[in-house]
Assembly symmetry: C2
């Protein structure tokens, strides 16, 4: 069935490369999809990849470049001359070409652009480079098919034949007026079965869904997802059609967005991977640990302020980790539900108050169950009643507090246009830890003294 990259395959390939056995290598990879070859390149040494790359057809080679992971590609391109890059870029779709050129140094960027043979491609890339990467303009490609609303099907077919040369997959025909303003869309199916003399104006569907060049990529993703779209036209501020975005580019945005929340919740601040350098990994993680350290220091200050009580009743110290951990866990849970609701636009229109009320409901049940359990545990192990009450009562209060706090913080951050996912993870755990300890010792003090 589909190709699966195995250790054995890689070993055989490496061996053949070491022997400079070009025929064998070519045979092994000739039927592979460029995405599979790129996956191989991501796994093997640079000099091996370079040897294999030389054996590829030009078309396949440029597809492989597009599919490579960015860091591997950057290393790869360093060994290329500007001319070599340019001849590959000529084969690419304008959006992929732009992504590749974007990562080059300013000097190389200009050199490569000046060496492109395809003048239209060069001007498309220059115009695409002007849009920020995280907007519709930065995602769109210039390869699309458009038809004038005044044409007939026959006239259109002729025009399309020449346009379609550059376009691998035709999703939709965009219908524009004489000023290139988008009027609507025409499915290839409708077009295919229409009579030759039918006018486009009688076939097209009005008012399609579209975005502007400055629409943020997350909004583009939401729109394509909501309306189940495969392609989406992009208009400039004057409503002129300037490009189209396809769903495969948006899948990455959707995935990254969901993963970003996971990373923030786990206390990782940059988009790092296991294979990144120790230095990069440390930089992504240290800031969150510093927050945790500061929280720990505050915790120490809180406990120190109850030093007298602690010396009298050292048993109070036993349950410090329990209270701190539960405060953190409940806070993360509550905030995660709100963060995900905000990300999916699935938070109901109910008021903040109603959300807090519901959270308190959940916290009351959780708190009652957990406080009872720890109460039974403490009684069973013969602890003094003061301790039993202190631990259970403060656990109950802490769970309710942490739930309310975890619900409110992401909502407040969102109000101020700060990414609410910041609220999950070490940040909220830390604050809830400290407040939880304060509540615990205060309740303990009231009960014991």
């Amino acid at each position: 069935m589909n190709f699966e990259l195995t250790k054995e395959f890689l070993q055989e390939l490496s061996l053949a490369v070491a022997k400079r056995n070009g025929n064998y290598v070519s045979e092994k990879i000739q039927d592979l999809h460029p995405a599979d070859i790129a996956e191989i390149f991501d796994r093997i040494d640079l000099f091996e990849a370079q040897f294999i790359y030389e054996l590829l057809d030009e078309e396949v080679a440029s597809d492989v470049l597009v599919e490579l992971e960015e860091d591997v590609r950057d290393k790869f391109l360093k060994s290329f001359t500007a001319q070599e890059i340019a001849s590959q870029v000529d084969n690419m779709d304008s959006d992929d070409a732009t992504d590749l050129i974007q990562d080059l140094s300013e000097e190389r960027k200009e050199k490569v652009l000046s060496k492109l043979e395809d003048a239209e491609q060069a001007s498309d890339i220059v115009s695409l480079l002007s849009y920020p990467e995280d907007t519709a303009g930065g995602l769109m490609a210039k390869e699309y098919i458009k038809a004038n609303i005044n044409w007939t099907v026959e006239e259109c077919l002729e025009e399309l034949r020449s346009q379609a040369e550059d376009v691998d997959y035709v999703h939709t025909i965009y219908v524009v007026d004489n000023q290139n303003k988008l009027q609507g869309t025409l499915s290839l199916k409708t077009f295919l079965f229409a009579g030759n003399n039918t006018k486009i104006s009688d076939l097209y569907k009005e008012e399609p869904i579209y975005v502007k060049t400055d629409t943020p990529d997350e909004d583009v993703a939401n729109i394509m997802e909501k309306y189940d779209l495969v392609a989406l036209p992009v208009l400039n501020q004057a409503n002129i059609l300037v490009g189209r975005i396809t769903i495969d580019d948006i899948v990455d945005v959707i995935k990254e967005e969901a993963e970003k929340d996971f990373q923030l919740a786990s206390g990782i601040s940059e988009n790092v991977e296991s294979k990144d350098s120790v230095w990069l990994l440390t930089r992504a993680r240290l800031p969150w640990l510093l927050i945790g350290l500061v929280g720990g220091i505050f915790g120490a200050v809180v406990i120190k302020s109850f030093e007298y009580e602690l010396v009298e009743f050292p048993v109070l110290a036993f349950f410090i980790p329990l209270i701190a951990a539960m405060a953190g866990n409940v806070g993360v849970q509550s905030s995660a539900i709100i963060v995900q609701g905000l990300a999916n636009n699935s938070l109901s229109y109910g008021s903040t108050f109603s959300k807090v009320v519901k959270e308190v409901g959940v916290a009351l049940i959780n708190g009652a169950v957990l406080s009872s359990l720890i109460f039974i545990y403490n009684i069973a192990f013969g602890e003094a009643w003061e301790l039993c009450f202190t631990v259970s009562l403060s656990l109950f209060v802490v769970i309710i507090f942490a739930g309310i706090f975890g619900t409110l913080i992401p909502l407040v951050l969102d109000q101020y246009n700060i990414d609410p996912a910041l609220a999950t993870g070490p940040f909220i755990t830390t604050i809830n830890d400290v407040v939880g300890l304060l509540l615990y010792f205060t309740i303990g003090w009231m009960i014991y003294f």
Copy 2:
């Protein structure tokens, strides 16, 4: 531009519904996309939605049903007769129809199926119902266009015209032999520009990428993502073409997969949303809190076993939360990086040993920085040198231990085919908390006594 659902819009709509003002309501919603109407229905009361639903065109009405959130749709369908459901299902794509019917009771399922007018649709649904929801068979639809490899373009066009009636968007033409075995694909573009007498066998592309009916949905998602596919053919065990999956259905799978990791990391065990009932939310959260509670009890046992040391030097208690929190944070970070690498298939083929070595590298830097900082803090506030050394040394050891542990656990779980995302979140925090405390007090005991 695109429709945006505002509070004002909903209020006006509710008011009009209360006045039974059908004309006004129709006017407000007539230009809306079914996905927008479904969004409105998700937000308003059931009886309001029912009033509006009656005003919709039949085609739009069935599209709205498809787009509704499952819980809203379930409530909605309860007020329908089997006949009413059947007439809506007749309008739907086979995959959407199957999703809807799947959720009905066995009795209603049969009733609805028996009342379908479209016999082909009924048999398609019955066959689709036999596949598990989370496999390619459960995701696929029966609406696709196929051509026999022996046809000419002209013969094909005639056949396609009748097939295409049922298919909204034609992505690709699937080319099969006389036994319906998949031979390859043909893009509509190629087809459009080919001469009438050209044979399909001269036009089609061999060996497309495909999946089997029992391929898990996550693998389907990975394949479509990797090869940037818009549609993917599904074959049965005899390599007969039985359906196709489109990318819009897979976007949901990709998103759910990424979100599941976030939820597990945040200590939520079911796919819950903010608007779910208090009971459901509690059920999703309580199990993780119980793990935390048990961890807290173990923590208490650890501290209790060092009661004598604590009475002598109560200052040791001050830094309990700091050690526990840092152990948890580091563990979650390490495991999150591994979990995400496993989910993306981006973990390099390097050995487990090399990953642990790298993690130790990161931990050494983080540990050195954080231990030094807390050392300076403790010195600055005039703590005894025993405490300074105990806290800094144990923080250093704990960070290294938690990093190794956080790296290994998800890898081990993955080996045993347990979801490694289980390792992030409360589970690993709790274990690291307890072990961290043990290390802290052991080191403290060695330094003080």
